[in-house]
């Protein structure tokens, strides 16, 4: 499809705006000199991914991203940063690392592999039969996918107990 055809579709313009915001935000996350700004820009990126899910009609996933990642994970990041150090302006601790190029290369190659393989597998084919209604997602989770669901919750429980074990003070010492 020619780019001039592609860009005339309003949905593609919205997608382009969201995607460019996300790419820009992601670059700010890793380049900014202030760790709080980094966490706040992460919110913009996560909001962008929620917006992409909304565009695809997956409302439940979109709002789950907002509730879990923005409402809980990033808030915990910020809480952790602020309770240990809360730099205003330029951070006194360097956020950068001397060997920054190998991880950048790895990130880029992961992106290339994923983009290339999904384009190769699906092309411009439209995938139908997606589950959109929330009650349908619930039914599927507790019938067909009940074992993976329980496995994931078990892993999370293990992580939770691990966190408690690491954080508690030993009463004997």
């Amino acid at each position: 499809m020619a780019f001039s055809d592609w860009i005339t579709d309003a949905r593609n313009i919205v997608f382009l705006v969201i995607a460019l915001t996300m790419v820009g935000g992601a670059l700010v996350v890793v380049t900014t000199r202030n760790v709080v700004h980094s966490a706040l820009t992460l919110v913009v990126v996560l909001g962008g991914s929620a917006a992409l899910f909304l565009m695809l009609g997956a409302e439940f996933v979109a709002w789950a991203v907002i509730l879990v990642y923005v409402g809980a994970v990033v808030v915990l990041f910020l809480f952790g940063i602020m309770i240990t150090r809360a730099p205003i302006g330029r951070d006194s601790v360097r956020l950068d690392h001397e060997r920054r190029w190998p991880p950048a290369l790895i990130a880029l190659s992961v992106f290339v592999v994923m983009a290339w393989s999904t384009t190769l597998a699906f092309g411009s084919e439209q995938i139908s039969g997606g589950v959109i209604r929330t009650d349908a997602i619930g039914d599927l989770l507790f019938s067909r996918y009940v074992i993976p669901f329980e496995a994931v919750s078990f892993v999370l429980l293990a992580a939770l107990i691990g966190g408690i074990v690491l954080a508690r003070k030993d009463p004997d010492r």
């Binding site: 919110v43 709002w63 923005v70 808030v75 602020m82 929330t134």
Partner: protein
């Protein structure tokens, strides 16, 4: 007439009208809540309260307060992180206002009956925590930072029991759509008054525990007494709001009172049957019934504020983690078992 209707058909024009209506209703109701709070608190404390403003009963007091706030200089401290400091009140107010998309005032008077209704409300109101943390950090003030930290710890702790209390209602109603939840308590209710087909609200058929947990968590989410440690005046000046003045302070202030309205509206929809009242036609009387129930809950919130002392920080945390969360989990279990059995 046809021209006017044609203009209304335009999506953007209709959107602007909807937005204006929401903002005006919100502003009006927030001012009404502020006035009610001034008067109710005064009478409960055996004083008169606002008396002179406006000529009678001091009705113009909230307007005078609002104008006073707006006139003040919009200060940004030298040391503050300016963009974050300026953005924080908007984030806070936006997350409260966004909840009104799914608040149903009657079967048809609703901005959008989302399939994920109540889940959406919980998700957008969780963004408010971010605004509070941004305000606390960017002020470059140790009182602000402490207030922001306390607020974040409190909002994280009380978001969980709130979500779990709502989950029990969703299990009982079998839907997350707000209209669906009201209908499960009204027209198509499973439980009715014996001998009639009048539905009972969830608070009367099994969700009284969830209602208590939801209202407690709502007070904590709004940082109101007895959960107002984040802005405890005697310890932290004014917590994360210390450095704010003028229009930005007004936005936080408005967010608190609009938040009271939205939390009361959510509780009304989830537990008190929303627009539904036996014998009244919901398409005509729905909004008035809804507003009446919301006002009742707002009155209870003000009543609690006047009669309770402030909790201590550790008491607040242990209350949330050791009592509210286990009780709400047990509540979900009982609800789910009964849902399958009945």
């Amino acid at each position: 007439m046809t021209v006017a209707l044609a203009i209304l058909d335009n999506f953007w024009v209709f959107l602007v009208i909807k937005l204006l209506a929401v903002v005006l209703v919100l502003l009006g109701f927030s001012l009404a809540i502020i006035y009610a709070e001034l008067k109710i608190m005064a009478h409960m404390q055996a004083r008169i309260g606002p008396y002179f403003a406006g000529g009678r009963f001091g009705w113009a007091q909230p307007f005078a307060d609002a104008l006073k706030f707006l006139q003040k200089e919009d200060l940004v401290p030298d040391e503050a992180d300016s963009p974050v400091f300026r953005l924080a009140p908007a984030v806070s107010l936006m997350s409260t206002v966004a909840v009104f998309v799914i608040v149903p005032f009657s079967p048809t008077l609703i901005a959008r009956d989302l399939d994920v209704g109540i889940f959406y409300a919980l998700a957008v109101s969780s963004i408010g925590t971010l605004g509070v943390l941004m305000a606390g950090w960017s002020s470059a003030n140790k009182y602000s930072l402490m207030g922001g930290l306390r607020a974040a710890a409190q909002l994280i702790a009380y978001e969980l029991p709130m979500v779990l209390a709502v989950a029990a209602v969703v299990v009982q109603a079998g839907t997350m759509s707000m209209v669906g939840i009201v209908e499960a308590q009204g027209g198509t209710a499973l439980f009715t008054i014996p001998g009639t087909d009048i539905g009972l609200p969830f608070v009367m058929v099994g969700q009284i525990v969830a209602f208590g947990i939801f209202m407690t968590a709502a007070l904590a989410e709004l940082s109101r007494i007895p959960f107002d440690m984040p802005i405890a005046e005697s310890e932290l000046v004014f917590g994360y709001l210390t450095e704010y003045s003028g229009i930005r302070f007004t936005m936080f202030f408005l967010a608190e009172y609009a938040g009271m309205f939205s939390m009361a509206a959510l509780a009304t929809t989830l537990f008190l049957g929303g627009w539904y009242l036996p014998g009244l036609d919901p398409t005509i009387f729905g909004p008035f019934v809804m507003m009446g129930k919301v006002s009742l809950l707002v009155f209870v919130m003000i009543w609690v504020r006047v009669t309770w002392p402030r909790l201590r920080e550790d008491q607040l945390q242990s209350f949330a983690w050791k009592w509210l969360i286990p009780v709400s989990l047990a509540n979900i279990m009982v609800t789910a078992v009964l849902k399958v059995v009945l």
